[in-house]
């Protein structure tokens, strides 16, 4: 049943997102939807290394920030056309991912977390150092926006950015679902599940891992570029702890290793944190408690809930064997 439902659900999901701006032009809702879409892109692409690859890559948000900064610096300071933003962001992000992957090739488990995390901090320090180029603590401001003739992507409540991000999300989801079914993806999963066996069967560990990192970095680079042009700034916060924790919790709560989990996690969590906005700092306390509770009681995340419910229902329907009752 689940299998048959899926294409319909996917079509409905994207149809709602495509139609939403036509029925609603509230600028606040527009902004929240753009942010949710961006988080969905980040979560699903992070899933490639973290979920399918099983590599504890904590540099994913740094790839996003690197993409945003590279786009900002090259288009604002060096006068590249904003239209080069996307290729610039993607290139910078992929280069960064290859750089961080090289020391990670020989490492395992918690070491990977720390090196990739240290990489983000290294980028942050460089950003803070190069104040003339990056604006230091204050961030990079007035990044040129995208325009076609006299139409700015900011017109009509940022409708241009909305559809651009949505297109990137569609591409990301398509890419991840291709990945999960491709020979490339199988090899990645094989390395995750039994490295020794996979290597002995001729899966080239280093090459596959480098490719996985580079592949997963395309999407944060792209969305980083669009983000920089949308909010017209890039700030050092993008390398920070709280951003990372938020995105990671979306991914884990949505469910790693499934195509739709991270997307659902991003939307649910963005909306939830907006609903809780009036609570002020209290909402961070609630968020922290929620993360722990979900990890405790729904280890597979939101994506695991339907099968968990199905299991419960099946268990309830099946009459208990008499032996067990006695």
């Amino acid at each position: 049943m689940e299998k048959k439902l899926r294409p319909t659900a996917i079509a409905a999901f994207f149809a709602i997102l495509v139609v939403l701006p036509l029925v609603n032009d509230d600028s606040y809702i527009r902004h929240i939807s753009i942010i949710a879409i961006m988080y969905a892109v980040l979560g699903s692409s992070w899933n490639i290394t973290l979920g399918y690859g099983g590599v504890f890559n904590f540099a994913h948000m740094a790839f996003f920030a690197v993409g945003a900064y590279a786009t900002g610096i090259l288009t604002k300071t060096f006068g590249f056309s904003p239209w080069f933003g996307l290729p610039i962001g993607i290139t910078a992000s992929v280069v960064a991912s290859v750089l961080v992957c090289l020391p990670v090739l020989r490492l395992k488990g918690v070491y990977v977390i720390l090196v990739t995390f240290a990489f983000g901090q290294l980028c942050l320090q460089i950003v803070l150092n190069q104040r003339e180029l990056t604006g230091g603590n204050f961030g990079l401001v007035s990044i040129p926006p995208l325009e076609i003739g006299t139409f700015s992507f900011r017109d009509y409540q940022n409708i241009g950015y909305y559809y651009l991000s949505l297109a990137i999300l569609a591409l990301t989801v398509a890419a991840v679902s291709w990945f999960s079914r491709s020979r490339f993806g199988w090899r990645v999963v094989a390395l995750r599940d039994n490295e020794a066996y996979a290597v002995s069967r001729g899966v080239p560990l280093s090459r596959i891992r480098l490719l996985t990192f580079a592949f997963s970095a395309i999407f944060p680079g792209a969305i980083g570029a669009v983000y920089a042009q949308y909010v017209r700034s890039a700030s050092p916060d993008m390398f920070g702890f709280s951003f990372l924790t938020l995105a990671l919790s979306m991914l884990l709560l949505g469910g790693t290793g499934s195509v739709w989990g991270p997307v659902a996690g991003a939307f649910v969590f963005t909306i939830l944190s907006e609903v809780m906005a009036p609570l002020g700092p209290g909402r961070y306390l609630i968020t922290a408690v929620l993360i722990v509770l979900i990890l405790r009681f729904f280890p597979k995340g939101l994506a695991g809930i339907p099968s968990l419910v199905a299991q419960q229902v099946r268990a309830a329907r099946k009459p208990k064997p008499a032996a067990e009752a006695a």
């Binding site: 504890f56 090289l102 020391p103 020989r106 490492l107 395992k108 488990g109 918690v110 070491y111 977390i113 720390l114 090196v115 240290a118 990489f119 901090q121 290294l122 320090q125 460089i126 803070l128 150092n129 702890f241 709280s242 924790t245 990671l248 919790s249 884990l252 700092p281 209290g282 961070y284 306390l285 968020t287 922290a288 408690v289 993360i291 722990v292 990890l295 405790r296 280890p299």
Partner: protein
């Protein structure tokens, strides 16, 4: 020329020693939890901040005004209890799961998030500072440091010795080491594994609290007080090699003196970048740290 070099050496030596001693205090607790439970405790930095706030509230005239000694005792007790709770709520329920390394990162990060924001709610955004433990200053190796910093320098090796003696000579210490080495076998010999985990966690948290108090008199107390030192402590533990206490101490002194040297010659801004770069490069060459076993 020689004079200026001498001067450079003296000031590097003094500031390096202070930094290294702080890192020893922080890294010891982190390493204890890692060695025993096999997880990284990201609440360590938040515990430091919480302890500094508690010490301030008990000690400061604007708070309970009960004196610094009471403040220190209260802060260490509170952080030990917090450590116990963190283990009970955030770590113990997840032990034995396949993805425990990643889950523990998430739960302890959430815990840190929770503690830091609670501190912000309870104590407000205004920054505070603890009194120095002692007034006055001490001259060592040609430079002057404050008496407070001298206490830190002395305290670090003493506490490490105490920790070592505890792990080596007491029954509880041996039990903790036994659990760390072989969980099942320890359980078979009648050691209550969960209780040992809880004790290790509480001790580590008390150490975090102590370093938080020490830091709270040097820097301003903010909810993020422990954030940046925590990263340094992580580097120290990894550099020394996970599972090795002597390695952790050596790592702390290497990072402390390295940081002081780099700050003197390159400035504070570049030091952080250099530190992370050297760390990443080092791990690429020696994935298990200085004394770590593969």
């Amino acid at each position: 020329m020689l004079d200026s070099l001498m001067l450079a050496f003296q000031s590097i030596f003094a500031s390096g020693l202070v930094l290294a001693s702080l890192y020893v205090l922080m890294a010891a607790g982190l390493a204890l939890v890692w060695n025993t439970l096999g997880i990284f405790n990201f609440t360590h930095g938040a515990l430091m901040a919480a302890a500094a706030y508690v010490a301030w509230t008990v000690a400061d005239p604007r708070g309970l005004d009960m004196g610094l000694a009471m403040g220190v005792i209260a802060a260490i007790l509170v952080s030990a209890v917090l450590g116990f709770l963190i283990n009970y709520l955030l770590v113990a329920p997840f032990l034995g799961q396949k993805q425990i390394v990643l889950i523990a990162v998430m739960t302890t990060l959430s815990g840190a998030f929770f503690i830091e924001n609670s501190a912000l709610l309870l104590w407000g955004p205004r920054i505070k500072q603890l009194d120095k433990f002692v007034d006055g200053s001490v001259r060592i190796a040609g430079t002057t440091i404050s008496g407070h910093e001298a206490i830190i320098i002395l305290l670090a090796p003493l506490l490490m010795l105490g920790l070592w003696a505890f792990l080596r000579f007491t029954w509880t210490g041996s039990a903790i080491r036994a659990v760390a080495q072989n969980r099942e076998f320890a359980e078979l010999s009648g050691i209550r594994v969960q209780r040992m985990y809880a004790i290790a966690f509480a001790i580590a948290a008390a150490l975090a609290g102590l370093s938080g108090i020490m830091l709270g008199a040097i820097r301003f107390i903010t909810p993020g007080l422990g954030g940046e030192p925590l990263l340094k402590a992580l580097i120290v533990v990894i550099l020394g090699g996970l599972g090795s206490m002597p390695g952790t101490v050596l790592g702390a002194y290497l990072v402390g003196f390295g940081e002081a040297t780099s700050t003197y010659f390159l400035g504070a801004y570049w030091t952080q970048a250099v530190l992370f770069l050297v760390f990443i490069g080092f791990l690429a060459l020696r994935p298990n740290g200085l004394f770590g076993k593969p």
